[in-house]
């Protein structure tokens, strides 16, 4: 992830009065899932402040692509909630519609460097969409805040 990333090329915020969500973009599935992780932590904090100092492995199985994306972000939220681990990037050795094996990059929360903006309670399946638009991939995820 570049030091000064173009946020609008990674994701846009979707907001209604009670809901908060993201539309994420990527040229392939790997980029889409990595961008979704970056966007999640950009909503929670400011993703540009997160350094890829540590790595953690994650393996997940799911019913389909949309389910996999929800589980992916749910897993990152769990890791954040239990280990205070902020993720800014991910690389995938397996990324199939129903399975992923990933290494996530990031660091533990340091309140002097990482602002905390939003508590995300859960990642939801509400209006979940993962689709190919031309040659690119796009996904929408709504959070329970």
């Amino acid at each position: 992830m570049p030091a000064e990333p173009d946020r609008a090329a990674i994701y846009t915020l979707v907001e209604h009065t009670a809901d908060l969500g993201i539309v994420v973009y990527g040229e392939d599935m790997g980029t889409l899932f990595a961008h979704a992780a970056w966007a999640l932590f950009d909503v929670i904090s400011d993703a540009t402040t997160i350094e890829p100092r540590r790595r953690l492995p994650i393996t997940l199985d799911a019913m389909d692509r949309a389910d996999l994306l929800v589980r992916w972000l749910g897993e990152l939220l769990y890791v954040y909630d239990t280990q205070r681990f902020l993720c800014c990037d991910a690389t995938f050795s397996v990324l199939e519609p129903t399975r992923l094996e990933a290494i996530i990059h990031g660091e533990p929360l340091d309140e002097s460097r990482h602002p905390i903006d939003t508590e995300i309670k859960a990642v939801t399946y509400h209006q979940i969409a993962v689709e190919q638009v031309g040659t690119h991939w796009q996904a929408q995820v709504i959070f329970d805040v």
Partner: protein, 382 residues
Amino acid sequence: MRILGSGLSRTDIEGALRELVEGLFRNIPSGVGSHRKDLRLSRAELKRVLQHGAQWAVAQGYGVQRDLDHTEEGGCLAGAQPDRVSDRALERGRAQLGSLGSGNHFVEIDYVAEIYDAPVAHALGLFRDQIVVTLHTGSRGLGHQVCDDSLKTMQRATTQYGIAIPDRQLCCAPLTSPEAHAYIGAMYSAANFAFANRQLMTHWVRETFEQVLQRPPRDLQFEVIYDVCHNIGKFEMHPVGGEIRRLCVHRKGATRALPPGHEQIPAVYRDLGQPVLVPGDMGRYSYVLIGTAQGGIETFSSSCHGAGRALSRTQAKKSARGRPIARELEDRGIYVRSAGRATLMEEIPEAYKDVSEVVDVVHGAGISRKVAQLRPLGVIKG
């Protein structure tokens, strides 16, 4: 959601408000991922919390039997099955018991500004200018994880039972299925965690007032007026087509508001109807209402549980940017402390609808009846 009455009037805490708010802020951990360092429970003990709810807290010395008598279902939902709660949920919940969380969760010192129904207010122990404390917190990360785990199970169940749904978040299973049975056992465990959480906080509210005002408990007379969980499915008896039937009523953004005489209201209030707590925003007011017979007929005894947002969080932050929100509120006599830098901005009063208009609609429709209006003096936001 819980409301505590006291024997104190506004004049009793004059000059001590700031210290009380600071004391509560110190004694009740708040903010994103907040946890208590002095209440690290073993796994077995946490399971007892999930089984017994607020009763566990009282047995540990955090409160008295009377608190439970004034709490929905005695502060413990029967049917909780802690073994249905995943290791992950236990892990998320273990450190968070006794903490407030963030977002719209709060502890508020209010005073009773208006009484609309004097006999009911009197029966609930409310009087004009009385100091009351309202608590809004729930099952924290444990509840979120129970939901998360169950959503995964229900995604498969929806397909398995051939149920067509318009949105995947509405995934479900028949109430009689093993999946539903497991979910109810886990959900009620989460509700019991929330009851215990509010009971612990009640204890710390009492302690804080005792410490700051240097007065013994018998002077302060902090009593639980009522405690009710919202955002939950509950089994209740309701009339359907002239017949009384057992229903599972799922309320989201709503609260239970049982009519007078309903057997699920604690005995002390059964003749009155169920107390209904409707928090507004931190700058204006909140309300205490009472359940009605008409609500029992028209809404399966359900009422609103808040004002509802008028501005999205980003809009609120935009509107609050550069403004000294805490000072603005202080100028109106409200002392505010917040753990998160963004929370105060997201929770500015104008981010919410005017709850008095919402409550007037509920009152006018006869779903619940107004009893008293509360106005904030001190607020802690997560």
